[in-house]
Amino acid sequence: MNKSSKRFLALSHVMLMLLSVFLVAPFILLIIASLTEESTAIKYGYSFFPKVWSFEAYQYVLRNSGMFGRAFLITIVVTVLGVICGLTISSLMAYVITRRGIPGGKILTFYVIFTMLFNGGLVATYLNYVQIFHINNTYWALLIPNLLCNAFSIMMIKNYFQASIPEELMEAARIDGASEWKIFFQIVTPLSKPILATVALIMGLAYWNDWQNGLYYLDDTSMHGIQNVLNDMNSNAKYLMQFAGSSGATIPTTTVRMAIAVVGILPILCVYPFFQEYFAKGITAGAVKG
């Protein structure tokens, strides 16, 4: 290694460390803000080194675990259901458009790809779901619009099927009289675990992080998931006050809002380090071959 390379390696480390600090610092501030004593936060503002620490924000969240727990549960159920349904629908479609010689295969592929080129936009989608399907103020609104299935996932799975599953294997099974369903579930799916895991993670993330469907379609705040509760606290300063009546205490709003935000990202922070490679792979596969 010559001198120039050595210097460059040192520079790389310095720059990446600075970048890491820039990217992670807001999370640390958020967590510390949620652990700051309320009157300290009001007087001195959020800081990385608060004068007085306290768990009162989390104690408050725990005391009101009914309401926050409900939002949390809604998000979990919608995420799990959404991933299971979405993954099934997408991978079935991906399988069909990779089937050689299927009459209308080209049309089906175009039918999928065209959704990437053109869409009706918010107004038409909203009126469609509200006026025709009446899914506003039902839990379907969290599950169905826009998130259930998309062309990018189908194309990612399709590319994997084409590249990694030998055609001869499926042909042999077909000659043995295996049905399409059997081939799909017993040959194709087990061989495609990496891509299915990647797509499932991306879908799960989209469901977990979604607040737009709740904002568009659900007026009743008791049906809101965790992201929508965070949004409600943003848009309505009195949102937390409505729960004061039941507990009878003043609410440490300055720190409680931060505590709820921490609770909202905690599952991602816990799961992510273990699946980091899948996420990275999913991003590259989706972008390069989308």
Binding site: N2, S5, F8, L11, S12, M15, L16, L19, S20, L23, V24, P26, L29, L30, A33, G45, Y46, F48, T88, L92, M93, Y95, V96, L108, Y111, I113, T115, M116, L117, F118, N119, G121, L122, V123, A124, T125, L127, N128, P145, N146, L148, S179, E180, W181, F184, L205, N209, D210, W211, Q227, L230, N231, N234, S235, A261, I265, Y272, P273, Q276, A280
Partner: protein, 305 residues
């Protein structure tokens, strides 16, 4: 239909059944709204619905383009996108080169984990993170300013700060995404080139300019073309959540997507919002087709269709 043909079709019935859920879903979620776009040419009322409302031609568009909002939202949407495409590409390449330089597997993994972390967080949470820094009374930045004896800055009331704030937040959230994509193509470059260059005494900077950048060109073309195709779309979450829906900031934060949302669900002006929505969908189709054509010229395999 001949008997043989019929039997042939019958063989494919299970496959068509497998495709059915997806076909139905796209029909409801994507194709019906496409037809629903006609609402932009109608005077919508709830009783008559999308099909029954009265046709009024370009009336809605006349109102939209007569307002000064049409110019502001177009300028903001395109302006931010253009600037961010350039910034994202430059920063993404830089970070990818630094990451590629790191030889220790452990260190590389740690950096990658940090770099992608913001990408996984919802825009609502991002708005909380931004608020912790920018809040007028309790924000971290005003705390520092006050400690230094300087007056607080009303971040959420002055539009002129927001092009910078939005740029920082956007890059904070998305920088890892581009870096990871560039890294994937960097890994594919053969080490031989660099070894040969080093033997000839090339400096690192020369190697980057003469080997790395040219090898990355296809990826750069691909990302820029995708960005240009989507130049008429904006990240609704970023422009709605991070400025906390403050009307005072509209000059700097209103884009087509936030305008459509506010007109539809906050002021209830379906005519204006559907006209803006149609305007966006139509221009998007043109830009995507145009830039996909450009992409095809450069590299057939990266074109979408």
């Amino acid at each position: 239909m001949s008997k043989k043909k019929k039997q042939n079709l019958k063989r494919w019935i299970p496959c068509y059944l497998m495709a059915l859920p997806c076909v139905v879903y796209f029909f409801i979620n994507n194709y019906m709204p496409m037809v629903g776009l006609q609402i932009a040419f109608k005077n919508f009322n709830v009783r008559d619905g999308i099909w029954g409302s009265k046709f009024i031609g370009f009336e809605n568009f006349k109102y939209l383009f007569a307002s000064k909002d049409a110019w502001i939202i177009t300028r903001n949407t395109i302006g931010y996108n253009l600037f961010w495409i350039i910034l994202n590409t430059a920063l993404g390449i830089m970070i990818a080169i630094f990451l590629n330089e790191v030889k220790s597997k452990m260190a590389k993994k740690v950096y990658q984990t940090f770099i992608l972390l913001p990408y996984l967080i919802s825009m609502v949470v991002v708005s909380y993170l931004a608020y912790a820094f920018l809040s007028e009374q309790t924000g971290f930045i005003n705390g520092i300013l006050n400690a230094l004896g300087l007056p607080s800055v009303m971040w959420y009331q002055k539009a002129n700060y927001w092009p910078f704030i939005l740029t920082i937040v956007y890059e904070w959230k998305n920088i890892g995404f581009n870096a990871i994509i560039f890294l994937a193509s960097l890994v594919g470059i053969s080490k031989d080139y660099y070894e040969a260059a080093e033997m000839d005494g090339a400096t690192k900077w020369q190697q980057i300019r003469k080997i790395t950048i040219p090898m990355l060109t296809p990826t750069i073309v691909m990302l820029v073309t995708i960005g240009m195709g989507n130049i008429f779309r904006s990240d609704f979450g970023l422009f709605y959540q991070v400025p906390r829906n403050q009307g005072l900031l509209n000059a700097a934060t209103n884009t087509i997507d936030t305008y459509v949302f506010r007109a539809l669900l906050q002021t209830g002006d379906i005519g204006m919002s559907s006209a803006a929505s149609f305007y966006q969908a139509a221009v998007c189709l043109v830009t995507i087709l145009l830039f996909n054509g450009v992409m095809k010229k450069f590299s057939e395999e990266n074109a979408m269709f």
